[in-house]
């Protein structure tokens, strides 16, 4: 297992290299020019040109790429063109809100979606199943920002229970931290609750048809034990897979959610960097996200061995 994990971690290196080259090339050919944004609307073309030269953006592709890779090999993600701050420091400033949002969303999603899926499978064909699946359709269909606005309207503006926006670091207390995350996590989690509930239902329906379930019932086991101990464990592999994919998708969803709820996370940093063409920041974030994606996949593979002893690497 250890050697497998090590191999997988090492295999991320070529993936990261390809991602790095791809992202750098894409940004190089993409239209837009940070020097124009920096210089402002009143600047002359000559001013823009000089700023571009000072930033090294007038250098050939290979020179720029080589210099970036060289810094990367020294664990230096570079400096933001706009803020003049190290990219690593900017990411560090923003990572806590995004990780917090993803974590709360994930916990919320699993706590809601898995029981919903199990119940829907148990009550398949009944009105309970239909209500749960109708909710799933709703979750899939309504965009995150709409759910966000509705939640903010009800829980922040109408009933004044939670703040509209912002983020409080965990260091300032658990409740202040959590209260800023509840609405965005629910908004972001809606689509994943829908997705995981449906997958859980499908996987459970298949397992519930198995002979050993019938045997368990014949032996007089309680419904709860059958559903959550025997059936759910055997339906876990597809559920874990979807949860893993969900984590990767959360990164994308966080971009919108962080904008709607003014959370200073990596999603907003990404958008700001793209709109301004802050190349070093974009490259740093994409590399980080790629690494997280690969890591999540590795964790999922390892989790398989925990839920299904037949799987060994």
């Amino acid at each position: 297992m250890l050697s497998y994990a090590l191999r997988r971690v090492l295999s991320t290196l070529p993936v990261m290299a390809i991602v790095a080259l791809f992202v750098f090339s894409l940004l190089y050919i993409a239209p837009g020019d940070p020097a124009v944004v920096i210089a402002g609307d009143q600047a002359s073309p000559a001013d823009v040109e000089r700023i571009r030269a000072n930033l090294g953006l007038d250098q050939p592709f290979l020179v720029q790429f080589g210099s970036w890779v060289w810094r990367l090999l020294h664990f230096d993600l570079g400096t933001s063109i706009f803020t003049n701050l190290p990219v690593a420091a900017m990411i560090a400033q923003r990572i806590e809100p995004t990780l917090s949002l993803m974590m709360v969303t994930l916990v919320l999603t699993i706590l809601i979606a898995v029981p919903l899926g199990v119940i829907a499978a148990w009550k398949a064909g009944t009105w309970i199943d239909r209500v749960i699946m109708a909710f799933a359709v709703f979750g899939f269909s309504v965009p995150v920002f709409v759910v966000g606005y509705i939640l903010a309207y009800v829980f922040a503006l109408k009933f004044d229970l939670l703040p509209v926006q912002g983020y409080t670091p965990l260091a300032q207390g658990f409740w202040p931290w959590l209260q800023n995350l509840i609405l965005p996590a629910v908004a972001l989690g809606c689509v994943y609750i829908a997705l995981i509930a449906r997958i859980t239902r499908a996987a459970m329906l298949e397992v519930l048809q198995q002979d050993y379930i019938r045997t368990a019932r014949a032996k007089g086991l309680g419904q709860g034990g059958i559903l959550f101990i025997h059936a759910l464990k055997n339906a876990a592999v597809p559920i874990v897979t979807v949860v893993g994919i969900g984590i990767a998708l959360l990164i994308g969803g966080a971009v919108v959610t962080e904008s709607v709820f003014a959370i200073p996370g990596l999603g907003r940093l990404t958008i700001d960097a793209i709109l301004r063409r802050d190349y070093p920041v974009i490259q740093g974030i994409v590399l980080l996200f790629s690494f997280v994606y690969v890591l999540v996949n590795l964790l999922i593979d390892i989790t398989y061995t925990l839920v299904d002893p037949r799987i060994r690497y």
Binding site: P31, G32, D33, V36, V37, I38, A39, G40, D41, Q42, A43, S44, P45, D47, V48, R50, I51, A53, S80, F82, T83, N84, L85, M90, Q93, R94, F145, V146, Y149, I150, A152, Y153, A156, L157, K158, F159, D160, L161, L162, P163, V164, Q165, G166, Q172, W175, P176, Q179, S259, V260, F261, A262, P264, R268, L269, I271, D272, L275, R276, R277, D278
Partner: protein, 533 residues
């Protein structure tokens, strides 16, 4: 249900909000001493000479002081300067700094700091460049006195040093001001009424400014950038909110105190909230622009450009932007900001009255236009340019022109408009932008009005008449003379169609009523603003 409806619904709900806010992060006393402000844009960098975006200038005006400050009559008043003297031939200016000036690091402001700051500024600012071109020497005479010796008189000296247009002549410590003006500085030490809390700066999310206890304000009443800048709060926190609905909700909920520029759609909701005050923010507003490329057909022919003026309805452009809010726009048959001394409608008949499509089509024909695609590069992520772009597409089609509508983002427009290549090879025929009215009060900072060909702003217009009159304006010695020249500039710029003005528009600002002292101005002014719990 579309996004805008949801936005309005959410914002409207604020009126029903119960009072108070769950678990504020800061205690009541501290809250009353902290002003939370939502600026127009993200403060992504903080070097006001290197980066000249309006938002940087606005933040910089809190941290760095200027030698002079413009008041609401556009007259430069002494700010850091105690006295000035100009020689009888107009060539030697001697300035003396007022006592008590101190940088945020505790060091006194010296003449050598001013000299280094003006040297850096004059490498980037259009007026500074003019001064540099006629400069004999700029030297510190002693710790409090500096001298600027010129080769020819420059009557607009004090305006140049006090203007609020970016880049402003901010004074920095010598060691910082020695930074290459085309490279970003990394230390933010000024002598203004606020200190920048660099450690709390999260670009894209928050910027914090603390009251500078050692700042000695002038005794005069504060008016715009002039007078005594008395700070009445301990901290100003800039909270960046990219989503207007969130900003509206946060303002209604008391999570922020002042929102610089609420979007027009949400203003009725804010006006309906008894805890919120709403008024025009910047009385100088903005001038909308339909910018044509003078290098390529058909707009390299003045008749084609005149055809656009002849058919363009400013009301259409303004209504697309501000809807039914009549208080927010004015027709602009000219280039200078309405209600300012140089405003003129000379030569503006072509933009007035019923639009003449037949005449415009005839002019297009005479210009040799034969249905070639017109590349309109339109930024969709800016509400102003998006609204203008839609009107333009319709206008050009009505004129029988073939529209190649390139819907893109502002970053791409910024890069593409610098391309001089033909539109079919990555260039362009037209784009939209807007200019702050403060930049259009006279030709000094009005880069977009220049018509010196290759050196002109994007579109590269050439008009000897316009350029001659702009030079005359710089040499004008009285306001009456300036007005006469401005009328000639306006007429010439409309005849040669330097660009097509799409109208004059204003924007609102909104604040909680427990905040007092919010005044109209070309930038948000934080001195004199106080807050109660």
């Amino acid at each position: 249900m579309d996004r805008r409806t949801v936005l309005k619904g959410l914002a409207g709900a604020g009126g029903l909000a119960l009072t108070g806010f769950a678990a504020p992060a800061i205690a009541q006393g501290a809250s009353a001493r902290t002003l939370r402000f939502v600026p127009q844009a993200n403060l992504a960098n903080f070097d006001p000479i290197w980066g000249t975006q309006y938002v940087v200038r606005n933040a910089a005006a809190m941290v760095w002081d200027t030698l002079y400050g413009i008041d609401d009559k556009f007259v430069p008043q002494r700010q850091m300067v105690e006295s000035e003297e100009v020689s009888s031939d107009g060539l030697t200016w001697t300035f003396k700094l007022r006592p008590g000036l101190k940088f945020h690091d505790g060091e006194p402001v010296l003449a050598k700091d001013v000299v280094a700051s003006l040297t850096r500024w004059s490498a980037r600012d259009p007026m500074g460049l003019m001064l540099k071109a006629i400069q004999n020497e700029l030297t510190a005479v002693d710790d409090k006195t500096f001298k600027w010796v010129l080769k020819q008189p420059y009557p607009k000296m004090l305006f140049a040093l006090g203007k609020g247009n970016a880049p402003c002549a901010f004074v920095m410590p010598e060691r910082i001001a020695q930074t290459d003006p085309f490279k970003q500085m990394s230390e933010y030490v000024g002598s203004g009424p606020f200190k920048f809390a660099k450690g709390e700066w999260v670009p894209g999310a928050k910027a914090v400014f603390e009251k500078f206890a050692d700042y000695v304000p002038r005794d005069e009443k504060p008016v715009w950038l002039a007078g005594g800048k008395k700070v009445l709060v301990d901290r100003v926190e800039w909270v960046i909110m990219p989503d207007p609905a969130t900003a509206a909700a946060a303002l209604q909920n008391g999570e922020v105190d002042w929102w610089e520029n609420p979007i027009t759609d949400l203003v009725p909701v804010l006006k309906g909230n008894k805890n919120i005050g709403v008024d025009i923010g910047d009385p100088l507003g903005n001038v909308g622009s339909f910018r044509m490329n003078h290098l390529h057909a058909p707009f390299n022919n003045v008749k084609a450009r005149q055809a656009i003026l002849m058919a363009l309805s400013q009301e259409d452009y303004m209504r697309a932007l501000v809807g039914d809010e009549n208080a927010l726009w004015k027709p602009l048959p000219g280039f200078f900001t309405p209600d300012t001394p140089l405003y003129t409608e000379a030569g503006g008949e072509i933009l007035k009255g019923k639009r003449d499509f037949a005449g415009a089509k005839k002019l297009l024909e005479e210009a040799g236009y034969k249905g070639e695609p017109i590349t309109c590069v339109v930024a969709q992520d800016q509400p102003i340019t998006k609204a203008f772009g839609d009107v333009t597409a319709d206008l050009l089609k009505k004129l029988g022109m073939t529209v190649d509508f390139v819907a893109t983002d502002w970053g791409t427009v910024g890069a593409r408009r610098a391309q001089k290549t033909p539109p079919s090879q990555g260039g362009w025929h037209m784009f939209h932008t807007w200019h702050a009215g403060a930049d259009c009060i006279n030709p000094a900072a009005y880069t977009a009005l220049r018509a010196n060909g290759d050196k002109a702003w994007f579109g590269w217009p050439t008009s000897e008449k316009v350029e001659t009159e702009i030079t005359n304006w710089f040499n004008a010695k009285s306001l009456d003379e300036e007005k006469t020249v401005a009328a000639r500039i306006n007429k010439a710029a409309l005849e040669d169609v330097v660009f097509a003005p799409t109208g004059f528009f204003l924007g609102y600002t909104a604040w909680r009523k427990n905040v007092s002292g919010v005044t109209k101005g070309p930038i948000p002014l934080f001195w004199g603003v106080s807050k109660t719990a």
